[in-house]
């Protein structure tokens, strides 16, 4: 390492030029993506950041609002409800998806007949159209004659839940749908990680007399920590951003039972035309996700094991 940096500092002009050329080639490869990112993500994000301190109805003059939008947040009941709902969704969706993904990955890592078929099947919801998934889930959970409640009734459940038509069950219904939809993708990541664990470790554990649980607990889980870390970060961010599934399944209802932050952002911007205020909610969401991600990265050193 040190000899390399020494070489770099004493490199001849010709060498430096060729190195520059190398960088230029590399940058030219990422440039198209970077331009797209700047136009469609970076600039709108910057605009939204500025807009959070402004009043704008989308058509008339933009006016300065200072911190009005943020002080308004403290008084906004729907914002409080949406924030709580978002946290509930994250708290339900992240662990459930992770456990389900790991379980499926473990199962489909076994020498199983028709293994590839099942792997594809579980991955399928991830590529399926979200609107179709939402509609089908609503049908499955149809209160009176839906398959789920018919099954529950057949099993002797007296008053089966009314799922998305009930204030108490709507959030659970949405979380279940979201787990089912996302689990295939995270399963694939876990599968890849599982397959990269050297068998030698299991052999050594077997020699030491470890049983199946101990192998899982002391070999598999620690070796999976990089994948678990990656999944927990990506899944947390995705869960905070949930919108489309909820919009199609419940529209944020009944009442405000599944009104999450992004639904609230959407309603304030496009139903009430308060783009400035809506941007301030978006900023709160951004900083919340950022803070949680920073904490996750900070904690990473304590539990993630890079072999």
């Amino acid at each position: 390492m040190s000899s390399l940096s020494l070489n770099q500092t004493t490199a001849s002009p010709g060498k430096r030029r060729s190195q520059l050329k190398k960088y230029a080639i590399a940058y030219s490869f990422i440039l198209p993506n970077l331009i797209g990112f700047a136009i469609f993500t970076l600039i709108p994000m910057g605009f939204s950041l500025v807009l959070a301190f402004m009043n704008w109805d989308g058509a008339n003059q933009i006016s300065w609002a200072g911190f009005d939008n943020f002080s308004r947040l403290l008084r906004d009941e729907t914002f409080r409800i949406s924030l709580t709902n978002t946290l509930i969704f994250v708290a339900g969706n992240v662990p459930l998806t992770m456990v389900a993904a790991l379980g499926l990955a473990m199962l489909l890592n076994q020498p199983l007949r028709g293994r590839n078929f099942f792997r594809t099947t579980f991955f399928f919801p991830y590529v399926a159209s979200l609107v179709a998934v939402a509609v089908v889930w609503n049908m499955l959970f149809f209160p009176s004659a839906g398959p789920v409640n018919s099954l529950l009734s057949a099993l002797g459940v007296q008053n089966p839940p009314r799922w998305s038509a009930s204030v108490d069950w709507a959030m659970i219904t949405v979380i279940l749908a979201s787990v089912w939809k996302g689990v295939g993708y995270y399963m694939i990541i876990y599968l890849a990680a599982l397959q990269s664990i050297p068998t030698i470790l299991y052999e050594a554990a077997a020699v030491d007399g470890a049983n199946a649980w101990q192998k899982f607990r002391y070999v598999t889980l620690p070796m999976l920590t990089p994948a678990t870390f990656f999944i927990s970060v990506m899944l947390t961010i995705a869960s905070f951003k949930v919108f489309d599934l909820i919009m199609v399944m419940t529209g944020g209802g009944p009442g405000r039972a599944t009104n999450v932050l992004v639904v609230h952002i959407y309603n304030t911007a496009f139903k009430e035309f308060r783009f400035g205020y809506s941007s301030s909610i978006a900023m709160v969401l951004l900083f919340m996700v950022l803070a949680i991600t920073v904490v996750q990265f900070y904690m990473e050193k304590r539990w993630v094991n890079y072999q």
Binding site: G58, P143, A165, G253, G255, K271
Partner: protein
């Protein structure tokens, strides 16, 4: 690598280039006369009149082409808002409802038409009051082309089977309630419901403003309690379908009516056109009728609620003159005749236009009387905060109808939220 050689390539390039030049010159010449208009509409597949009126206009004006931008009905206003906020230069905007009209007008996204109307010498009295309802601060921003009213649809086969007389044109909501209870029969998948209330807030809230004493922009909403009590009790007794199920199953009112699952359906007159088309296509074969919208006790029969569908011109349009010429046709007598011929109620209802409507195959004979109104109240009045009111009303409507709260709790919550959330 090359079969043609350098010279061959060069020749091809020159030929291509000259061809391109020729096309460019030709294009430049013809583009001067040709006008291309873009118009936002919804659900073209199930709404045949959009294209029909355009075809009639294009037949008379061969230099104009009109492109329909099809948007799903449920997202229509949201999509249009995003388009306009993004500076889209679409020429003609169909105004679906009053909240959309009010939002676009106060934000300066559609232009006042008064100068054009004066120049074209249009007689606004032909619209029998609709133009006045759309006038805001002395300016008219849209020309109405459809004016729909709420009426009552009924399935004659179900009435005949129950041995009950058809609904009359003078029926109170209490009589409607009693009739619905008599009509309901069967159970499980064979259940026939006495009436049907679609999931829209308006299906319950319109009867509450029919007397003209209240409007949906209010401070105290206790006037809504009697209607909510009646409809939630119909729901509890399974005389009407369950709101939560309609919502979860995205069940459309047309399906349950066409499947003979419901006897009576309060709905807008726009449904006549779809029903005729569906019957012609063989989707159902029972005979159906229409009657006037039921009315509260003490309110004159024929009092109903209505909606206007109108056409406006985008402020960012580059073809405003051509666009006005087009909407003048669409909302005028000629457009009205095309609309009427397809079973739609145009905003202009001259005797000739109504004759065309009545002559459409499939329009029930009862329609002529049922469509006569004494008073039409707008579903939603013009108000700058109408979007915020609607959100609260929609959310609490959902809670009441899913039995998450009682009628009193729901109404108290509307009152509290309107007082706290609107106005700052």
């Amino acid at each position: 690598m090359s079969v043609l050689g350098v010279q061959g390539k060069w020749k091809i390039s020159v030929t291509l280039l000259s061809l391109l030049l020729v096309f460019a010159v030709m294009g430049g010449v013809s583009a001067q006369d040709q006008v291309h208009l873009r118009m936002t509409v919804w659900d073209t597949a199930t709404t045949p009149y959009w294209q029909a009126v355009v075809d009639a206009y294009q037949a008379q004006n061969p230099n104009v082409t009109v492109e329909l931008i099809d948007i799903a009905s449920a997202e229509y206003q949201d999509v249009v808002n995003v388009m306009l906020s993004g500076g889209d230069d679409v020429d003609v905007i169909t105004v679906k409802d009053i909240p959309g009209y009010s939002a676009m007008l106060t934000r300066g996204q559609i232009i006042p038409l008064n100068e054009y109307i004066e120049a074209a010498d249009i007689d606004l009295s032909l619209y029998s009051g609709a133009a006045e309802e759309l006038t805001y601060e002395d300016a008219l921003y849209a020309l109405p082309f459809r004016s729909d009213i709420w009426i009552l649809y009924y399935n004659k086969a179900i009435f005949d089977a129950a041995g009950l007389p058809y609904p009359t044109n003078d029926m109170t909501w209490n009589e409607f309630d009693a009739l619905a209870r008599q009509l309901a029969s069967g159970s499980g998948a064979d259940r026939v419901y006495g009436a049907h209330f679609h999931v829209w807030r308006s299906t319950v809230q319109l009867p509450t403003v029919q007397d003209g004493e209240n409007i949906v922009i209010a401070e105290d909403y206790s006037f809504m309690a009697p209607t909510y009590n009646m409809i939630t009790s119909l729901q509890a007794d399974q005389i009407i379908m369950d709101y939560g199920e309609l919502k979860a199953g995205s069940i459309h009112y047309s399906g349950v009516f066409k499947n003979s699952q419901v006897a009576m359906l309060p709905m807008g007159s726009w449904f006549i056109g779809s029903l005729i088309a569906a019957q012609k296509a063989g989707e159902f074969d029972f005979s159906w009728g229409v009657a006037r919208y039921p009315h509260p006790e003490g309110v004159e029969a024929g009092t109903t609620a209505g909606t206007l569908t109108s056409l406006a011109i985008n402020t960012a349009s580059a073809n405003k003159d051509a666009a006005f010429n087009f909407i003048q046709f669409y909302s005028g007598v000629e457009g009205a005749q095309v609309l009427a011929a397809l079973g739609n109620l145009p905003a202009i209802r001259t005797p000739e236009v109504l004759e065309v409507f009545a002559a459409v195959a499939g329009v029930p004979v009862e329609a002529q009387e049922a469509l006569q109104t004494t008073t039409v109240r707008l579903e939603l009045p013009m108000h700058p905060n109408v979007g915020a009111y609607e959100q609260i009303l929609n959310q609490e409507h959902e809670l009441i109808m899913t039995n998450s709260v009682t009628v009193e709790e729901g109404i108290a919550e509307i009152n509290r939220r309107v007082a706290e959330e609107i106005g700052d």
